[in-house]
Amino acid sequence: MRFQHHQAALDTRADVAWMEVHTENYMGGGSPIRNLEAIRRDIPISLHGVGLSLGSAEGLDQAHLDRIRQIAEHIEPDLMSEHIAWSVSGGTYLADLLPLPMTEEALAVVCRHADQVQSTLRRKILVENPSTYMQFRQSTIPEWEFMAAVAARTGCGILCDVNNIYVSAKNHGWDPLAYLAALPPDAIGEIHLAGHSARQLADGATLRIDDHGSRVIGEVWLLYEAALRRFGPVPTLIEWDQNVPPLDVLIDEARHADALIDVASDGVCRADAA
């Protein structure tokens, strides 16, 4: 949900089970946080952060973590999540989810920071697998094992982004089903779906880019069905924050996910739109 949806959500009491917002959009005072508090009275909220930089070697930005804690105290979200990535270096915020070398050192850094966040917030968080466009020579751990290890060592949950698995698998030649098979079902607290684009590079190769700007493609829906079979009915969110469509288009995508959840289960869990 973005700011342009606030009024529609307040006016119509949108028929969704829950909504997700970017934590960083509610760090100040004024009307945004008040609107979210009002929406929260009727609709459970998931706070999804993009700026905490769990993978920064230099440590977490304590002021940023404090702001997140304050929002959580106001909103009392049902879920809170962040990414297996980094975005802060040398005290500079780079405004992107940058890839980590999959090393024991990076794993230790991420686990230390996940512990710090969960200790500060006094709650479990979910960590999301990113879309990546490059790999490092230093990497020694497959990403799916890295994800599982973070969950096992810190007790955090996993936000399984099925589109990101598909995008990274296509970009790096991984098997997306093997990726899903390596994730511990008990740790999966949420699933993300999204649209992505494909770009031709100068050497003729195709690179898939996660841009949240279109409908979910068929192959990702198939992978989502496989995820539901393995993980059971998990709360699912459609991310669409570029070229944001009207709320009814988002809800239409969510309905499709709902239908697949209904097939995979007794329909006890519902999907919703960002």
């Binding site: 009307s31 270096s89 020579r137």
Partner: protein, 270 residues
């Protein structure tokens, strides 16, 4: 690079340098893909630059419309490299943008542009600054009358004062309303404006102040003592103005200045 196998900190430093425009061959050497590493890095560089440009576009919409999209993008590209954000809270990113524009040669002809940016920075604070608490008048009741002159106020972070030799409030309104007729009618030589920018329920309020009120507010907002502010204002209505500031929640807290007890008589509003 101090070691053969770069550690996480070194890799991240190299990528940061690359993203901020200082191409670092170290980072290329750490990548393992068969595709051209430069192409892959450029995706992250472009995403980062686009996100930060969008943040500045949201924070300075009138500046963007005054100079046009292409020029704005080029200007912020230089600014981002020079002053990248220090935090992931981007609502207030661009604190140094007005000063950057002041020294940016291509916009020297638009003499009012840095002041429009300063007004937008104040509007941004009014929109996004933390709610915090506002100082209540009742909190001042326990101060000894002899100490009233030593009271210094801390402004609420959402409230700002903006001075400009140009009618930047009129320019800002006309530009955001896309009212070319009103913009063309603005007389740049109509005199200076002294503005108080604040958050009201559901909207931003920009109020023009006269010189006397401005001097008083400027002294208080700068953290000078009430006694000093009253001396600057030299107006019998100043105590009433203080009451208005307090009622509007313009201050967050107070302290007592350590300066010698002032000789200028000061009274808090009754």
């Amino acid at each position: 690079m101090g070691s053969v196998v770069p550690m996480l900190l070194e890799i991240q430093t190299a990528i940061r340098r690359d993203i901020l425009g200082n191409c670092d061959e170290t980072v290329v050497a750490t990548l393992s893909d068969t595709l051209a590493p430069v192409d892959r890095l450029s995706i992250y560089r472009n995403t980062s630059r686009t996100a930060l440009t969008n943040a500045l576009r949201l924070n300075f919409p009138a500046v963007q419309r005054l100079v046009g999209e292409d020029f704005f993008t080029a200007a912020v590209d230089t600014f981002i490299t020079r002053e990248p954000p220090q935090t992931a809270w981007l609502d207030l990113y661009g604190e140094g943008f007005p000063e950057f524009l002041l020294g940016f040669e291509p916009v020297v002809a638009l003499i009012y542009l840095p002041d429009v940016a300063r007004l937008e920075r104040a509007v941004g604070r009014a929109l996004h600054a933390s709610d915090g608490k506002s100082l209540e008048y009742s909190e001042l009741l326990d101060i000894e009358p002899s100490d009233h002159g030593r009271v210094c106020f801390t402004p609420h972070p959402s409230v700002s004062l903006v001075f400009s030799p140009y009618p930047v409030d009129a320019i800002w309104r006309a530009v955001l309303a896309r009212n070319d007729e009103a913009l063309a009618a603005i007389d740049l030589s109509s005199g200076a404006v002294r503005l108080l920018v604040e958050r009201r329920v559901g909207e931003i309020e920009i109020t023009r102040m006269d010189v006397r009120r401005w001097k008083f507010a400027e002294a208080l907002f700068a953290g000078r003592s009430l006694s000093a502010a009253l001396a600057v204002a030299d107006d019998p209505d100043a105590t009433a103005w203080l009451a208005e500031h307090l009622a509007a929640g313009h201050f967050q807290e107070f302290t007592l200045s350590d300066a010698e007890r002032p000789s200028f008589a000061a009274e808090l509003p009754q």
